[in-house]
Amino acid sequence: MLEALEGSQAIARAVALCRPGVVAAYPITPQTHIVENISKLVADGKLNTELVSVESEFSAASVVLGASAAGSRSYTASSSQGILLMTEVLFNISGMRLPVVMTCANRAIGAPINIWNDHSDSMAVRDSGWIQLHCADNQEAVDTTIQAFRIAEATELPVMVCMDGFVLTHTLETLEIPDQDLVDRYLPPFVFNRMLDPQNPLSLGTLVGPEYFSETRHLAHEALNQSASTIVDVDREWQNLTGRSAGGLLSVEGPDDAKIGVLAMGSVVSTFREAMDCLAAEPAKLMALRAFRPLPEEAIRSACAGLDHLVVVDRALSPGFGGIVGGEIKAALSGMKDAPQIYNVAIGLGGRDVPLEMWPRLLDVPKQGGGFRILDLEPAKLGEMS
């Protein structure tokens, strides 16, 4: 059914459709509306879940860790400082192979404190062993949220659904909220065979010494790599049911013979889609990278075949290095025959607006050449801040 909903509200509805056993979250802008909406659904009797009103994000993550280990479908959500406070637990959840789903309402990280959108938070936990899926719009976010439980439970890996704070979470859009029946068919009840159970008393979270630690890391790496095919399959199945894809690992739009491409993640993809439609610019391919972890190297390479230039858009940066996605794409394409020339810029940091006009500016980057830079930097303002 088509409904006009705020992004956060839609996510709450999607989560409810997945019938989580335990939800734990702590307020932080711009995620707050999600936990508020879930609380309301619970209060109204529309969602039957154990909602744990924790005293911190650290405990939110710990609660879902425990709940998942005890065999309940578990969900949490956070942003920015909250994600960082969770960090230790996030590594634990993946290391223990627990299928937790979390929404990251992406936001910048202080100091200086800033509540607006960029990708610094999810990037900071890039190596935590979670699957990270980025959403271009709220429909994708709804669909990805539902898929995330399927992926997580099939792979026993945690999934972080990244959606841009405010831009998506606080925006009213008309979107399709699937039927409960459909979701029930798509997402079977959670069965966890390592569940904490007095009838089968396992010990989870053991100490592993040097004799075996490399093997555990290897297995974690393999598990993430192999999850790529699950992500694709699960999205294809969803498409068969609903007619909508949430973007697989990576989706590519634009003319086949374009010589320039732009790779981006998150809501800017929607902005660029619109710009491609309504602004006259040179023909270009838009690559929406949905799966940042696992990074689909093969899919990226084939999407880049035939391109001369590729502009990689980052929404965060690694000071002293540059763009994080950019660096990774360079690595992914290194050694590729006839690889495009790669340019890397960061835009929209800490909520700086990314207007439609950004699209032609991006296509212009190869002409200007040069290394990584913040494209929408306003140099005149630097004097005040240095």
Binding site: T49, S62, A67
Partner: protein, 326 residues
């Protein structure tokens, strides 16, 4: 094992913690965990903070636990226990959740998660194995380390006499959460400990147990003296055994006779500097610790009036066939 075939399998009591764990010889924490899990029975799920107990019980691929057990981090035992409990509720399962942590994981780094768990009234028994320092990392001071004790981060020297600060009064803080039941116990009084575990297990709601658990390595006493040392801590008044219901003192283990704290201190290397002949500060600190014990005795009214089978002299009495007070 020649004497009877497989007597281990036929023990007339439940074993939550199995042999083959790697605790030091005479470890009070291992004993405490054994006693707690034994009394709690098989229908439990445990969570465990990082610390000695976690490390010595679960070096992969082995585990000494016979009940489901979950370890995550140093500071989140109470929080993961909250999650486990929430999941059980969601699933309609009725097993009791027991969260466990050392004093470091409870008094200090895990305190916030614990407070949250108590405030949210989770049906969890939290057990703190209090060995009064961070033992797993090599004996560093914690909020629970007694005043004047030597640890590797509170060494005595020209300018210091061991830990400068006092042992945190955790129980009072717990009491302020107004939870149904909180108690302190000691490995020296296993019957009392068992009774307290059973009492806590019966309650549907958050409960808390602080179990004094000597660490031979960290306290510097022989592994064979663990019980003696623990008993003296109670008998001197330094570690009062009390029960709190909704934050109010409901009962205490009275002392039949006050044992001077020096008798407790002199058995442990961590207090050895308090017996230096040529240092006036030594006597001062001994007196300070005596005054702290006297303060506890006064505050909780520990002085007994006449012999009581449940006082600190009577509570561990045995008779043929078992403890006299069971």
């Amino acid at each position: 094992m020649s004497e009877m075939n497989d007597p281990r399998a036929r023990q007339p009591r439940f074993r939550g913690l199995e042999a083959g764990h790697r605790a030091c010889q005479g470890c009070g924490e291992a004993l405490a965990a054994r006693l707690v899990t034994e009394s709690a029975g098989p229908d439990v799920i445990l969570t465990n903070a990082t610390g000695c107990l976690e490390v010595f019980t679960t070096p992969w691929p082995q585990s000494a636990w016979r009940v489901p057990w979950l370890h995550s981090l140093f500071e989140n035992s109470a929080a993961i226990a909250s999650g486990v409990e929430a999941a059980l509720k969601a699933q309609g399962r009725r097993s009791k959740v027991i969260a466990m942590g050392g004093d470091g994981g409870t008094f200090d780094i895990g305190f916030q998660a614990l407070s949250g768990m108590l405030e949210r009234m989770h049906n969890v028994l939290y057990v703190c194995y209090d060995n009064e320092a961070y033992m797993n990392t090599g004996i560093q001071r914690s909020g629970s380390t007694p005043h004047a004790a030597r640890t590797t981060t509170s060494p005595p020297g020209k300018e210091r006499m061991g830990k400068r600060h006092l042992k945190k009064d955790l129980l009072s803080i717990i009491a302020a959460h107004h939870i149904p039941y909180a108690a302190s116990a000691s490995v020296a009084y296993p019957q009392d400990l068992r009774r307290k575990v059973r009492r806590a297990m019966e309650i549907d709601g958050p409960t808390f147990l602080l179990v004094h658990s000597p660490c031979p390595l960290g306290w510097g006493h022989d592994g064979s003296e663990t019980i003696q040392v623990a008993r003296l801590a109670v008998q001197t008044g330094l570690f009062p055994l009390v029960e709190l219901e909704r934050g109010e003192v409901a009962s205490v283990m009275p002392l039949r006779q006050r044992v001077p704290v020096a008798e407790y201190l002199c058995r442990q290397a961590r207090f050895r500097h308090l017996f230096a002949d040529d240092d006036h500060r030594a006597q001062e600190e001994r007196e300070h610790l005596q005054a702290l014990a006297d303060y506890n005795i006064e505050r909780y009214g520990l002085d007994g009036d006449g012999d009581d089978p449940f006082d600190a002299d009577g509570a561990d009495t045995i008779r043929r066939g078992g403890p006299a007070n069971s």
